[in-house]
């Protein structure tokens, strides 16, 4: 508590007990030493126990397994991967699959949340009621159940390869997934459309049913949370702001974009960060329907094959914590920029 008075006052405001004259600082010092020693002792004890347990089980340690041959196939890989690739490539494939799913979910959920959140404020009774119904329906059902519904019920009802649904000529949907054209890098830049092959569509790119189920399920669930954030964000913008915009002769859409949105963003960003992080963390539910992301590939398959539980768990924990901190940091910077502007 030797800090300057400004810091001291801030700490007081945060509810810290003020230290009064006469309080013995020494006792605090020794108490902390004792606690520190206890913590270190606990860590050492756990470390020693783990070591002896691993020895008893005959488990080796070290990260050398990352360079061994993987020996298993992964159904979706954004970078070249075969069964002969080393395990670290499998890890990279899994990480990319996780990030792909997260980015797709964040995009769709934000769109849904924005639309429904604005819909809640609509003067049209039907629109606002339907938006509320969406919110209450999807928010109160466990997201895993929703994913299961899309995967085991809705997507199972899709037609087989022969009777695929053509959304457009180049967008094909069947029970193997959603096919669409994609840039081909093999021989220069070319856009390759999906072409019906013997067992599946070839060329282009396709999203497997597991991905679709997770994408729809996670987006609908988290979109409901985002809609609530958007609604309260807009409601936090004073009514006078809308009226002032209209009085200036701006069109309603311009008022929304130029006046209301920048102010709403300030109230929206902190809770939105939380939802984005939750969504990123929830991509791990993919393990329940075997979409090959980090939990099902690394924590599941690699852990069973390599027999290095400590290392595998450490890598997964560091990955999730690292990305979460990165997202929190980036959103924090964006938030700072938004709140600084106009002050």
């Amino acid at each position: 508590m030797r800090g300057n008075s400004g810091l001291r006052r801030q700490r007081l405001a945060e509810g810290e007990t003020p230290s009064l004259p006469g309080m013995r600082k020494n006792s605090a010092f020794w108490l902390q030493c004792l606690l520190g020693l206890a913590l270190v002792a606990l860590v050492v004890l756990v470390f020693r126990t783990t070591q002896s347990n691993l020895e008893l089980l005959g488990v080796q340690s070290g990260f050398d397994f990352l360079w061994k041959k993987a020996g298993f196939s992964i159904s979706q890989h954004l970078i070249p991967y075969t069964e002969d690739s080393p395990i670290w490539v499998a890890l990279a494939v899994a990480i990319l699959n996780t990030l792909l799913l997260a980015v797709f979910c964040i995009f769709l959920a934000s769109l849904l949340g924005l639309a429904v959140g604005i819909g809640r404020l609509s003067s049209n009774w039907l629109v606002s009621r339907l938006s509320l119904a969406y919110l209450e329906l999807f928010r109160n059902i466990p997201v895993l159940l929703q994913i299961f519904f899309w995967y085991y019920v809705a997507l199972r009802a899709l037609p087989s390869l022969e009777s695929s649904i053509f959304i457009t000529d180049y967008l094909v949907l069947n029970n193997r997934g959603l096919y669409f054209p994609f840039i081909e890098f093999a021989n220069g830049f070319a856009i390759s459309p999906p072409v019906p092959g013997r067992f599946a569509y070839e060329g282009g790119f396709y999203l497997m049913p597991e991905f679709l189920a997770l994408w729809i399920g996670l987006s609908l669930y988290n979109g409901s949370y985002i809609s609530e954030i958007v609604r309260s964000g807009f409601q936090s913008v004073a009514r006078g702001q809308w009226e002032a915009g209209a009085a200036l002769g701006l069109k309603p859409a311009t008022v929304l974009r130029r006046v209301a949105l920048p102010q709403a963003l300030r109230a929206v960003l902190p809770p939105l960060t939380t939802v984005y992080m939750n969504m990123f963390k929830a991509t791990s539910l993919a393990a329940a329907i075997a979409y090959p992301e980090i939990v099902s590939v690394f924590v599941g398959t690699v852990n069973n094959l390599a027999g290095r539980p400590v290392e595998v768990m450490a890598v997964s924990l560091v990955f999730y914590a690292g990305v979460s901190f990165l997202v929190a940091w980036l959103m924090g910077r964006w938030n700072k920029r938004v709140t600084m502007r106009g002050q």
Partner: protein, 367 residues
């Protein structure tokens, strides 16, 4: 917004037609949107009615009742009802589950009655004595009760046990963590902060795997915790950090004057936290705490990934029985679970917002 400003007095007629004009047909654009939505809604309602009721198979309770595997199969829910409720808990011991859960429900209901005599004692009993007693009743093994392994527990029962036990432990741990994060001792403060911030960044499923695989390695060989216990430890680690953040919000909303006043009265640390700080902080953070509770309740469904069978897990297990295979069966099971969770979560969140309003009123009256 602009359309509201231009609303003319003529439009504000009373009655149904006035209401319709104001709310659905206030402009050409609005009218078009309303009509399209009404059409879509009608189509959806017809389709849903067809799927849920008319096309569904209702009679019987044997697999043969669902000849058509694609349309909804309600007999599945009827046939597997006991499994959905209790999992594989032996049927001659099910009275123990019923007794334990009914006692809990009764105590909870008694607490909700505002004029209940001895409400304090009921609360104390529910918080301190009921959880261990209920666990003893469910688990058995002493005083003449036959032991029932936790691997047999399942269904609705397991969902409630996990939610209740984890919440009970986490609330206590969360309060301690929140107080620790504000501690005068830098080491305690830093340790709590790091602990909270790290676990908040980790998904529940990953932590479940980590605890289930790693905990036996961390502990000496003679200490063994079963899978349910390990899963609950994982949930409790996460839940306590969430609750710690919720309580911290409440602690920060208190003015420094409260702390100073407590000190001026000569209360020591424990007395001031217990009688002055926590009662106010917990009241403020109650909405956050309830929403975390609802989150935990929904999140227990991930237990099925690690091979424990909560309500959704039991439905999944029953639907993979070769006799019952089919999307109609699975869908019926899912709808049943969805209705259960939806009703519970909806009622809880409504109750929470009512409580929040009451607390706001109370606080406004107090200051």
């Amino acid at each position: 917004m602009a359309s509201e400003l231009t609303t003319s007095a003529a439009r504000q007629r009373a009655g149904l037609s006035g209401w319709l004009r104001r709310n659905l047909f206030s402009s050409w654009w609005n009218a078009a949107v309303s009509l399209v939505l009404l059409g879509l809604l009608a189509m959806l309602a017809v389709r849903l009615f067809q799927w849920l009721i008319i096309d569904a198979q209702w009679a019987g309770s044997a697999p043969s009742a669902c000849a058509d595997t694609t349309s909804l199969c309600w007999p599945f829910v009827r046939a597997r009802w006991p499994q959905f409720l209790y999992g594989l808990y032996p049927s001659e011991e099910v009275w123990r589950v019923n007794l334990g859960l009914a006692a809990g429900a009764l105590l909870g209901a008694a607490l909700a009655v505002r004029r209940m005599p001895a409400r304090r004692w009921i609360a104390a009993f529910l918080l301190l004595a009921y959880p261990p007693l209920a666990w003893w009743l469910f688990r058995g093994g002493t005083w003449g009760l036959t032991p029932v392994q936790t691997s047999l527990w399942g269904g609705f029962f397991l969902t409630l046990v996990v939610t209740g036990s984890v919440f009970w432990v986490s609330l206590l741990a969360g309060v301690l963590l929140a107080l620790g994060r504000q501690s005068r001792l830098a080491l305690v403060r830093q340790a709590c902060t790091v602990w909270i911030e790290f676990w908040r960044a980790v998904p529940v499923l990953v932590l479940l795997f980590v605890v289930i695989i790693m905990l036996p390695l961390f502990l000496p060989a003679n200490i063994e915790i079963d899978k349910l216990g390990r899963a609950m430890i994982a949930f409790a680690i996460l839940m306590s950090t969430y609750l710690a953040e919720a309580v911290r919000g409440g602690l920060q909303s208190l003015s420094a004057g409260q702390y100073e006043a407590a000190r001026a009265l000569g209360l020591n640390w424990r007395q001031s936290r217990l009688h002055v700080v926590l009662p106010q902080a917990l009241a403020v953070s109650l909405p956050q705490i309830t929403s975390n509770f609802i989150g935990l309740f929904k999140e227990t469904t991930v237990l099925l990934v690690i091979g424990l069978f909560d309500l959704l897990g039991e439905v999944q297990r029953a639907a993979s029985d070769p006799q019952w295979l089919g999307t109609g069966t699975t869908a019926a099971g899912y709808i049943f679970v969805a209705v259960f969770f939806w009703t519970a979560c909806f009622c809880l969140s409504r109750a929470s917002s009512r409580l929040e309003r009451r607390i706001t009123r109370y606080r406004a009256a107090a200051t």
